[in-house]
Symmetry: none
Subunit: 248 residues, 2 copies
DNA sequence: TGATTAGTGCGCATTTGTGCGTATTTGCGT
DNA sequence: ACGCAAATACGCACAAATGCGCACTAATCA
């Protein structure tokens, strides 16, 4: 087996299961733990997965705190995320001006977005912008400083550009979703962009899988009531009854 | 069996299987591993497959480790371009604010840029920005609408951002270089960005191989005297004596 | 016919990838 | 706060893969 293939397999396994341990990978691929660790290191550097103590997790699950263990591992299903994205994408109306936040969940969303001629998509992520442009969407990118880890744009230029726009609707990811602490993210600068972009959007949607409920990341960017949450899977009972939570 | 046929067979095999090893190919085609390696090298340069350690994979699968380095070796002016870029990159001084125009020549330039801590690079190309960020440079992206073909940002947002900046030096590509018609490019919107960015830059450099001299594209973005040209190869005699032309 | 050139195989030095042992760090329970 | 077990990083050895120079062959052309 080619080393390259092994790397691809690891990525698929991580994506599908949400998280995998080093021994699991070593066993499945017939190589030693040392090799797996080296592979995880390369993949982490390439931003394909997130390396954590004990193994690896998919990127979206990694950012709650900078270092989480494999201890809690609710195997999140790809199906959930697909359904969430499909539901969210259906909310985009013709003739509208739509904001797309950076992050891996919203990246998945792009695949489901309608191909309406009259819609303009605005994003703070160069990666998302490329995907939108490739699919033939009318795409606008915020300016600003490029953060290498997330490929997101931050800083005064990004905020200044946002101040000139008003969106019909927008979609955000969130590392933490909690009734009291609201929507939270690990990065201060990115939080600022999220906050300002939300302020300029009429219909605000946070797309998030069930595992984010109850999680709290360092920086808050919106109150829990500020957006409608589109989610799927085993949402804690406390949140199920709330009228701004849509479970698909 | 013709060498050309062998190359085609390799491509089909890679496409079909996703990935193959060198011994597999050598065995299947009845040639030695050396020949296969040479073939893979050829096919990789032609961007028909991706050569990896131990064999080859199809291009779609290749994005795991595939570096962001540009390998346009098929280019005839390769040596020239390398020399031009090396010379241009040496012009970047510490503590400076540098503008990098979009285009394939400037993309090549990025590989040669010095890793000075204090330098900030600003670009209108999301592709260039990614390359800069990957290399650990402090990178700023103009906002604006993303043109899918060139991955360049254009429109009022790009221009508005430029109006807030003043660069120490900047590097532009140009489709046409002529004494009378100046620097020219095919796209109106990109010409605008080039024009305004030049207006905000103290030391302006156009990097261009010899083949562009005498060419004229539809839209002019600067006078011939507005920038110093860094070039190489067989520059027409008329231009060689000009004091804003540096031949390396 | 003789010279030239592209393509191929082979040997060798170098680079790259892998596994293993050991020292160090990390996480977790007491 | 502390200690223990697991996980990790690091250095080393070995094997595989690679790149390069050289020799040989076949086709092309003067």
């Amino acid at each position: 087996m080619l080393a390259e293939d092994r790397l691809n397999t690891i990525v698929s396994m991580v994506q599908q299961a949400g998280s995998v341990t080093v021994p699991e990978l070593a066993d499945a691929l017939g190589v030693t733990a040392s090799t797996i660790r080296r592979d995880l290191q390369t993949l982490d550097r390439a931003h394909r997965i997130a390396k954590v103590h004990g193994g690896a997790t998919s990127l979206e699950r990694a950012h709650v705190t900078r270092d989480l263990t494999i201890s809690e591992r609710s195997d999140l299903h790809n199906d959930d995320k697909e359904r969430i994205c499909a539901r969210a994408a259906a909310l985009v109306e013709p003739e509208s001006f739509v904001y797309i936040d950076s992050g891996s969940t919203t990246l998945r969303l792009i695949e489901h977005l309608p191909h309406l001629e009259s819609v303009t998509y605005v994003t703070d992520s160069v990666l998302h912008a490329q995907h939108l442009a490739v699919r033939g969407m009318r795409t606008v990118v915020l300016g600003g400083e490029l953060k290498p880890e997330t490929e997101a744009l931050v800083g005064p230029d990004a905020l200044a550009t946002l101040d000139r726009y008003n969106f019909n609707c927008g979609f955000w990811g969130s590392n933490g979703v909690a009734a009291e602490q609201g929507f939270t993210t690990p990065d201060i600068e990115e939080a600022q962009v999220k906050r300002i972009s939300m302020r300029h959007t009429a219909k605000r949607f946070v797309i998030s899988d069930a595992s984010k409920f109850g999680m709290v990341a360092p920086v808050k960017f919106a109150d829990f009531r500020d957006a409608t949450i589109i989610t799927a899977g085993e949402v804690p009972a406390k949140y199920q009854s709330m009228d701004n939570v849509i479970t698909v």
